[in-house]
Assembly symmetry: C2
Homo-oligomer: 183 residues x 2
DNA sequence: TTGCACATGTAAAATGTTACATGATTAT
DNA sequence: ATAATCATGTAACATTTTACATGTGCAA
């Protein structure tokens, strides 16, 4: 998979400029796919050249003009084809796990420093969970989803919430383990 | 962070060849950091040139010679310095979440195809969980860890187990949501 | 004799990161 | 005036992925 597909989904949900996409990749979509604005502009250019998306110029008073991108029929076909492909195994990059195993090869002071850092990292994840929960209350207040799109967005958000809760519980386990090391 | 640090941790736990490392990155370390043998050989070369690791030639009867890499004192210092750095936020790449949100933009047949694929993906994760649990019974049978290294390896494994259990529960949620779409 | 495990690499293409670059409006 | 937000890009560099490349020994 590539960034292209995440952009197609985002533009189908809501057409927008590269700048707006970059912000979505910082917020909602960033939950499950990250990208910087530099990447996004480059890929938007390529997708436009390939005819997957098309831009309309939007003149704005008081602000720079922007290009509002929308998905074309060929772009939509690219997405539906991709949806039928196998889901690839996730490429895991869990830096903290590497550090925790690495903690066996540092001194006591280093282990304490890691413990402090894990506590800070835990606070970050607590904030993310709070943000997800607030978003859930705001966007999905009822028990019955409004439509398919809402139902699917909600289940993805529930995945994010479940992930953060799991991480917080594991970080508590890590903190207890670091505190319990021989010294 | 980079692959270098994961390799340093792995070689400190047990010196070995590039080939052996590639296998560890398919198994135990692959739980939290993935790498192919091509990446590993290239990075080993650079780390050797930088003096972080050193190789001894191991002549083997009946098999190709191999180079057993171990971490040098400078390499160990690189690791301890890195352990003191901030843990970077994870770069998330959750392809399935993109597909689930994308399912709002395909037809019923496409949604059913995704459902089938999610079920297959779920079976993969069930197998991973079973492997982790078997590894836990094998490597950590007692209640009290043998030493620091074992305690830290065990808490990382518990993280993998917690992750897989969370994913399985979420995939059930996804399956129920896909089945419940309007049609 | 076919395939698998062991063992190590190179090359090209795609992707991703970091730094640089510009310029307007709005709020403090 | 100063910073933040909106808006779009280029350039250089690093990393990752995919394909190619080679060769031995052992077991079925």
């Amino acid at each position: 998979m590539a960034l292209e597909h995440a952009i197609l989904v985002s533009l189908l949900e809501q057409p927008g400029s590269g700048y707006e996409l970059a912000h979505r990749f910082d917020r909602s979509i960033g939950r499950f796919w990250t990208a910087t604005h530099q990447q996004i502009y480059r890929v938007l250019g390529r997708m436009g050249a390939d005819g997957w998306i098309t831009a309309e110029q939007v003149d704005q008073r008081g602000r720079p003009d922007k290009r509002r991108w929308s998905v074309t029929d060929p772009g939509r076909a690219v997405l539906t084809d991709w949806l039928r492909e196998e889901v690839q195994p996730e490429a895991v990059r869990h830096e903290l796990a590497v550090k925790v195993r690495g903690a066996a090869f540092t001194d006591r002071a280093g282990q304490v420093a890691l413990l402090v850092e894990v506590a800070r990292y835990r606070a970050d994840h607590e904030a993310v969970l709070a943000r997800y929960l607030a978003g859930e209350r705001r966007d999905f207040p009822g028990t019955v989803p409004a439509d398919d799109r809402a139902a699917l967005q909600h289940v993805v958000l529930r995945g994010g919430i479940a992930y953060e809760r799991m991480v917080l519980a594991w970080l508590d386990d890590v903190l207890a383990t670091l505190r319990g090391l021989d010294h």
